[in-house]
Each structure stands twice: as structure tokens, then as C-alpha cells.
Amino acid sequence: MEYKLSDYKTEVHNDWCAGCGDFGILNSIQMSLSELKIPPHNVAMFSGIGCSGKTPHFIHTYGIHTLHGRVLPFAQGAKLSNPNLKIIAVGGDGDGLGIGSGHFVNSGRRNVDITYIIHNNGVYGLTKGQAAPTLKLGMKTKSLSQPNMNDSINPISLAIICGFTFIARGYSYDVKHLKDIIKKGILHKGLSFIDVLQPCPTYNDINTKEWYQSYETDKEDPSIKIPKIYKLEEENYNGIVNNEIETEDKMSIALEKSREWEKRIPIGVFYQNDKFITYGERLENRIENYFSSPPAYQIVNDKEGNTIANIDSLLERLKTNYGLVK
């Protein structure tokens, strides 16, 4: 069966603010799924809390809108129980790097084959613009009464250190580029992280669309305009690990690259390593038929309702006369 882009849309009224960067992310996800021809019922969209948390309701796939900060554990539980599902998790930067930072860090240790997208706007939008974990120290967005007291987390650097195996950044107003990154993330075998620069037109009056799309003039040649955002792939950056021995080097250059921000902001793929063992493969090493018979597929009872588990040998060990040498 062929699926059209419209097959991934719902009728649910979208109540995001006009001009919100979330729309670009929503469209990119729908386009990615459509172009990859993944049947809607094989996809489960998980989300955290906040404006981004509503994303699954606008996408016609299974949609699980979870708790603040807990999207990764919910999503990993579903994937590990049914590895055949395509699972995409979305959440804000407050959700994933503030209240849910412990899960962000520890998800990196597992490398479960899911895709995680952060709607990164530096503010808690739905609660009216408080400072979120990616807002820089000393910044004062418009609803803050005083400048931000905390320094910011760099999501790309953190993801590298934690062990994510696909790390990229997109910009929500460059839908075509973002869509391509999301497609790569979905196709990647392992835990993908996509940091999306997503202007909040209502509460973040610093990192605005205009700010992201601004140019600097070259000091030597004023006719050359240098855009703030540039694409890594256009400047010969290659963060792909082709061979396991490249891992350390590629992580180092990715880490270095992730520090760029003030003058120029790179988007694109920072790091990609599909050679590293996924959690599913680790389970397969213990449970031979894990992928063909994962938890979600196992039949546990016969037609009469009797268990099909046979625990006789386990019970045998409990018998008081077990191990009796005759």
C-alpha cells in the first residue's frame, strides 16, 4: 500500500502560536515518514510535556504523549518490547535536558534503536517563558524579570559524551534539510539525537528567526556575507565512523565542532557510528530469538487460558529432596 503525506496527518486542531518553529519540525517528521514509506501503524511517536509534547496528536501514527522529562524511558520500553516498531521521541530542551537529563545521559549508555528530537528554543514556552537549559548565562528573554542565572547545556556535546551514536542538528525553518536529517536518524541503527533550533516567537526574543538567519559581513571583503547558520556537509566536515578505530577521532572532532556557536552555527550530522552494538543486539546475545520473538510477540497462554510456560525444572530445584545423591 502506498502512503501519501496526508496519511500522516490528523484532523486535530493545532494550537501552536503562529510562526512557531514547531511547525517546521512537525512537517519534517511527516515528510520523512512519508518518503521512507513507513506504514503509519508501524510508527509510534512519543513525546514529553510542553508545546512539543502535543506533536504526536498532529501525526497519524500511534501517539504516546507521556510525562515531563520521561519520554525516553517510555519510548525505550516500547522499543525493547517490540523492536519492529519505528519509534520517534520528541520533547523540549527543558524536558530532555532539565527534568529529564538523567534519562538523556543514561539512554546514551544503552544505544536503543530509536530517534530522539529536541525542540530547542531556550525557554519553557507553555508555562510562559521561563529560562530553559539551553539558554545562555546572563541572557534575558522577554518574560524573565532578571537575566538567566544558570549557564547553558550544549546538547550536541552532551550527546557525544553520553554515547549517542547519531548526533545531528537541524534548523526548523530549513524543512528540507531537517527532513533529510530526520530520515537519516530514523534509518540509523542505534540511538539518534537531533537537536533542532526552534525559535519560540512568543517568548524567546533573542534567538529569533531573524537572529538565526542573520549574516555577518566579511571584514576584508564587504561584498561577502557570512550566514550565521551553515551546513557541515558543505564545508567538508565528515563525522561518520567508517571503521571502529576512527571512533575516538570522530568523537573528538565532533566535540570540537559542537562548541561553535557565537559567530557561526553548524547544522548537519556531527557524528554517526553504526558499528556500535545496540541494546537490542546485546539482548540478542543473551536471548537467541529476541528479534524474532520479542516480548510483545510472545504468546503466553493456550486457547484454554493455560500458561504455556513450563517451570517444572525450576520447581524441581525447590524440592526438598532435590540433589539427593542416591
Binding site: 496528536h57 538523567g102 525447590l318 526438598t320
Partner: protein, 681 residues
């Protein structure tokens, strides 16, 4: 102090890590192989090495379900065990100790707690003895306690010369087997059976088994030759079968293994946990046995995941449950506190989920390795807002197996979280019981369409789009798993419409609240009464008795109550004793319980029980907490008024000795309403 005649109580103690556990396991194995019944419990500190730990076992020819405070045979590895436990030695009991302790000072034992020090000080003072081990031993001798010196170091040295192996450090471990062989010699236990027990424990290491067998015999013969008349003390208490025990119907079950065994049978194929005492053993057992044999010759498996915290643990278990698997998370109080928010998410989204809640003494970190039933009201109320849940409590090791299968059925039948309450006492106890008949309980998956049955759009129930929360189906609607064709739905922690999308519509909100909350009534209506409350004991042969004592309880106090009633009932021909165990704590079986008690009383005045203070019915609730939490539920949900609350909250489980005494005191009207128990080391 005279112990109950029908059983022998054996206690072994020493510093944590000294082999108390392995010695007690060989003891249990040998004893049960000979056809005897046992109940054993482990007490230990939240510590890796050095603090005092002990294992107490009650041995009998008939089933035993509880421990006693009095000790018949006390085996000690160190001085501290003598100080802590010798006050509980029965007159004519036996103390096995290393004579080396005689030179030690009580004040040098830094791990000794205040209450043990106070106790021994008082005993020595009252009996004009010096505050040292000479004084303790003198006092014991005067109480006619038999003192057996087991010089471990010398014995090992002699033994090593005998077997020509001089690696003493390697042999240090055999003090365990020597001490229990000494105990078995005192009990005049058959050496062949002792050897069987040792060999079965070391069945994978035949060489080590033989060293241990030889050491055991060496120690056994040492006792027999040096203390020839000792075995007369207990020989009449226990009878050993003439032949080896071939009864296939008796098992020796550990409380930390029975619920996970039930999970395998129930079809739980996904479990998460974050390490916490006393719940972790459950997951470890499940993970060690994660490959499951099946009757269809296929091979099943359980995925067990250690998460970064308990929030992640419950969230992952919920995520897995959405894919259709029977899913569980296992924790104790502190972890359950972290799970409260996600519990509500499972509630509003009607997700079947099991939380195995192994209670321990709280609040906060509390007594991490000690017993309490302090989480009942929390389990019922955890999480904000209103949502339906089931709180179900198991009374003992055997029940925890069957109940585990039942709770998975409840979770799917009613599509809600079920909190299965177990506790430290059950988890760290071991007892002989009947072989599990695991095919007895059927698996019921409720309104669930699994992957293999394709969801048909033309089905009468499904028009246009699947409605996960279809209001026309009553409280429980059809559930599909993520990935099902035509079954797309949404979940959200917000209030939702029938498809699962966010709504704040007042009319839909009202209907959804009513849909969910009406499950509580449905559960009460559909659950068989014996699965809600169980009359565990009733003097049915006593007829026309005016004075009735009705005991109400929940959870792991069951064993000690049964043992108490079996002892006390024959002593009072004019009192009819009844014990009702409440298993379903939420929703509360109010009417069933009232009707059952009414029927037992045989009369009812108005809407109240026992308005007359001269009434002949005495109602006692027994539980291990301060507030009398079951009694609070009784007051909340019924017109039942208890006369006495027997309570305990010092972290040590209720002993048969103290419960027996307090019920006697209640009969003799010697007590106020709150009876607080305080025994235990």
C-alpha cells in the same frame, strides 16, 4: 523460658559475610531432606561486611509458618552473637561458641547496639554477674543452658593435619559446616542425611563437597565424643523419617523467588528495576532464569532491564505494556515514591501494569533491611488526582506465587495498575510448603486484541477510526497493542477523548472520569470473594460459643497469626477464634467483609457492630505499622469497630511468642486498645 514443645528453634549468627547464610542453607537442606518442616528468616543490617547478621530457623514435624523468640540451639561465630542472642536462649537450651570469646570485652564490640547492651547489662546486674563473657556464661549455666565449646581454629588445624592440607586460610570457610554439623550432632541427626545435604548444596563442586563432608563428620564426632549426653535434650521433639525423604510434594521456597516464578507462569515477559533492598532479588532471579521452556517446545524469554532510576523503571514498564506484553516493575518504598507520577499516567491511560512493592521500614531510607507494613495507605493513595488501581497483598511465600498470576489477570481485565504488596519479611524468609500447582490459575487477558488477531475495520465495534477509550463499551474498552494495523490510538497524560486526543471538554471529562472510576465497583462485583478476603482460620467444631475473637489482618502477618491460633484455640474451649485475611485492600471489599463478620457474630444491631460494650465478640486487627492502617481502612469503608490493634514498628517481624502472649493478655483483659509489640534482635 521454655520453648514451644512441638518445634526446635535454631539460630546462627555472626558478622555479615562470615558465612551465616551458607551455613543456614546447608542446615535447612539437610533438615528438610529428612522430611522435616522449616520456617527460616534472615535478619541483617544495611551493610556489606562486619555488622551482625543472623538466621533463625524453626524446625518441626508439622508445618511451621513463623518464628519464636526463644532459642533452643544458638550457634555463634563471634562474641557479639553471644551478647545479642544468649538472653533468648531457652532454659535447657544449647549455646555453641568459640571459647576464644572468654578473653574478649563486651565494651570492645563496636557494632553492638544500645538495646542489646542494655539488656545484657540488666541480666548480669540482676544476677550479680560480672559485665563480661565469664559472667554471661555463668548466668547461662545457672539457667541450665548447655555450653558447648567449639574451638574453630584448633579444630580446623587438627582437621587440616588429618587430611594433609595445610592451607588454613582456604579452610577457614569450613567453620560454617563445622558449626552446623555440631548442631546436627546435638539433634542426633543421621550423619548420612547430613552428608546428603552437604553434597546437594555443593553438587557442582564435588571436591569441595568432600572436604565439607569430612569436616562435618569431624565436627559431628567431636561433639558426640565430648558431649555424649547432649542429644537427649531434643531427641524427643523431632522424629526423623527412617528413609530418605522422597515426598515429591514438598518444596522449600524462598520468598524472593516465588513471585518471579509466578511471573514466568503468568506470562510476564518484561520487567524493569532499579537496585533496592529487598526487591532486587526478584529481578535477579527472573534474569537468571530469563529463558523460558514452553509446552509448545518453543522458547520464551523475559527481558529484565536495570534502569537509571525508578522513574525510568516504571516509565519503561508502561512503554512496554503499550506494546501488548505483560509488564512489571519491582521496587520498595523509596522507589515507589518516585513512581507516583507515572502511576497516574498508567491510570488515566488505562494501561495494565504490575508494581511488585516489597515493603520495608520507612519513611525515607528508614530501616532498609527491616520489616514494616507501613506503605498500605500510600499504595492506595500514591499519585495525584483520582484513578482506579488495585492494591493486593500476599500473606505468605506460597500465596505470593499464586497471587502474582492473579494480579496480572486483574491488570489486563480492568486495564489499570495493580500494586502487589509483598515485604521484606516474605522476601527474606524460607519455608517448606506444598509443591506449586502452577496450572491451577488460568490466564485471562481481558479485552485485548493481540497482534495475531488482525483488527478489522468492518467489525461492528470499529467505525471509521479505532476508539481506544470507546465510551459505549462500559468501563473497560477494547485494547490493542502499538503496531496493530487499523488500531492507531493516542495516549496522553491530559484528559482525552475516545481516540486518546487531548480534551478539556467538560462533558467528555465527566464521562471519562466515570468510565475509569466505575472499574472499582466492577472489580468488587467480579472478583471471587475468597480472592478478596479469606477466612484463614475458624473454630468450626466449637458450637454455641458466645465469646468470639475475630482477628483481622493483611499481608505477611498471616503465618504468625495462624500459628498463634492453632496453639491458643485448644486452650480455650469457650472461645471461638476466627481469622480473616484481607487480600484486596483497594477497592476495599466493604460489604463482603461486613457480611462475613455479621454472619460470624450471628447478630447485628442496626448499622453498627457491637454497640453493647458487654458484647461477646472481640475484634482485633494486627499489622506492622504505627497508625493501624488497616483499621483506618475499616473505619473509612465499613461500620466495623475494632477493640484492639496489635501493632509493631520496631523493624522486626512479629514472633509467635509475643503474639501468643498478647492474645492471652487480651483474653484476660489486661491491655488497652493499642497493643505495641517490641521483641526482636
Amino acid at each position: 523460658m521454655e520453648n514451644f514443645r512441638e518445634s526446635v528453634s535454631w539460630v546462627i549468627g555472626g558478622p555479615q559475610g562470615s558465612g551465616v547464610d551458607s551455613a543456614s542453607h546447608i542446615f535447612l537442606k539437610s533438615i528438610t531432606m529428612a522430611g522435616l518442616h522449616v520456617f527460616g528468616k534472615r535478619e541483617y543490617y544495611s551493610n556489606i561486611k562486619g555488622e551482625h547478621s543472623y538466621f533463625s530457623v524453626r524446625v518441626s514435624n508439622s508445618p511451621v509458618r513463623s518464628h519464636v523468640d526463644e532459642i533452643d540451639i544458638l550457634v555463634t561465630f563471634d562474641a557479639e552473637t553471644v551478647v545479642r542472642h544468649s538472653p533468648y536462649l531457652a532454659n535447657k537450651g544449647v549455646l555453641i561458641f568459640d571459647p576464644e570469646i572468654k578473653g574478649k570485652k563486651i565494651e570492645d564490640i563496636h557494632t553492638l547496639d544500645f538495646s542489646s547492651k542494655k539488656k545484657i547489662n540488666k541480666i548480669l546486674n540482676d544476677n550479680n554477674k560480672s559485665f563480661d563473657f565469664i559472667g554471661i556464661l555463668e548466668n547461662l549455666r545457672e539457667r541450665n543452658v548447655f555450653l558447648i565449646e567449639l574451638p574453630y581454629f584448633e579444630l580446623i588445624k587438627d582437621f587440616s593435619e588429618k587430611i594433609n592440607d595445610h592451607s588454613l586460610s582456604k579452610l577457614a570457610r569450613i567453620t560454617n559446616v563445622m558449626s552446623l554439623a555440631a548442631s546436627l550432632a546435638i539433634l542426633d541427626f543421621d550423619t548420612k542425611k547430613m552428608e546428603n545435604g552437604i553434597r546437594s548444596i555443593f553438587s557442582n563442586k564435588p571436591k569441595i563437597a568432600e572436604i565439607n563432608v569430612n569436616a562435618a563428620n569431624y565436627s559431628y564426632n567431636y561433639i558426640k565424643s565430648k558431649y555424649a549426653d547432649i542429644s537427649e535434650r531434643f531427641s524427643k521433639k523431632l522424629t526423623y523419617e527412617k528413609t530418605n525423604n522422597n515426598d515429591n510434594n514438598i518444596i522449600i521456597a524462598q520468598g524472593s523467588q516465588t513471585s518471579p516464578l509466578g511471573k514466568i507462569v503468568a506470562g510476564c515477559r518484561f520487567q524493569t528495576y532499579y537496585p533496592i533492598t529487598p526487591a532486587t532479588d526478584d529481578s535477579e532471579y527472573l534474569e537468571s532464569n530469563q529463558i523460558i521452556k514452553q509446552t509448545d517446545n518453543g522458547s520464551g524469554s523475559v527481558v529484565v532491564i536495570q534502569t537509571e532510576d525508578e522513574i525510568s523503571a516504571i516509565a519503561m514498564a508502561i512503554g512496554a505494556s503499550l506494546t501488548g506484553v505483560r509488564s512489571c516493575t519491582t521496587t520498595s518504598g523509596p522507589g515507589f515514591s518516585l513512581m507516583a507520577e507515572a502511576l497516574g499516567w498508567a491510570g488515566i491511560n488505562e494501561v495494565p501494569l504490575i508494581v511488585s512493592l516489597y515493603q520495608r521500614a520507612g519513611p525515607s531510607t528508614g530501616l532498609p533491611t527491616r520489616q514494616e507494613q507501613g506503605d498500605l495507605l500510600f499504595a492506595i493513595n500514591a499519585g495525584h488526582g483520582e484513578f482506579p488501581r488495585i492494591v493486593y497483598a500476599s500473606g505468605d511465600i506460597e500465596e505470593s506465587f499464586y497471587d502474582t498470576i492473579k494480579v496480572f489477570n486483574y491488570a489486563e481485565k480492568y486495564q489499570l495498575p495493580v500494586i502487589h504488596m509483598i515485604d521484606k519479611f516474605i522476601a527474606n524468609s524460607i519455608m517448606t510448603c506444598k509443591m506449586f500447582d502452577y496450572k491451577k490459575i488460568k490466564i485471562e487477558r481481558g479485552k485485548f486484541i493481540n497482534k495475531n488477531s488482525h483488527l478489522n475495520l468492518n467489525d461492528g465495534n470499529i467505525i471509521e477510526h479505532f476508539k481506544r477509550f470507546n465510551l459505549d463499551e462500559g468501563p473497560v474498552s477494547t485494547r490493542v497493542s502499538l503496531g496493530t494495523e487499523n488500531g492507531i490510538f493516542w495516549n496522553t497524560g491530559d484528559e482525552h477523548d475516545e481516540q486518546g486526543h487531548i480534551t478539556e471538554d467538560p462533558e467528555i471529562r465527566k464521562k471519562m472520569v466515570e468510565k475509569r472510576m466505575s472499574k472499582l465497583q466492577l472489580i468488587i462485583e467480579q472478583t471471587p470473594s475468597q480472592d478478596q478476603i479469606t477466612v484463614e482460620f475458624e473454630d468450626i467444631l466449637k458450637e454455641n460459643i458466645e465469646h468470639k475473637i475475630i482477628i483481622l489482618s493483611w499481608g505477611s502477618t498471616k503465618g504468625v497469626i495462624l500459628d498463634t491460633l492453632e496453639r491458643i484455640s485448644p486452650e480455650f474451649e469457650n472461645i471461638k477464634f476466627v481469622f480473616i485475611q484481607v487480600k484486596l485492600l483497594h477497592p476495599f471489599p466493604s460489604k463482603l467483609l461486613e457480611d462475613t463478620i455479621n454472619k460470624l457474630i450471628g447478630e447485628k444491631t442496626g448499622n453498627d457492630f457491637k454497640q453493647d460494650s458487654n458484647s461477646k465478640t472481640t475484634l482485633i486487627s494486627i499489622e506492622m505499622n504505627y497508625l493501624a492502617q488497616l483499621d483506618i481502612l475499616l473505619k473509612q469503608n465499613t461500620t466495623i469497630n475494632t477493640d484492639y490493634n496489635i501493632l509493631k514498628y520496631n523493624g522486626r517481624p512479629i514472633s509467635l511468642s509475643e503474639l501468643h502472649e498478647s492474645v492471652l493478655n487480651i483474653i484476660n483483659k489486661n491491655l488497652g486498645k493499642r497493643v505495641i509489640l517490641e521483641n526482636g534482635v
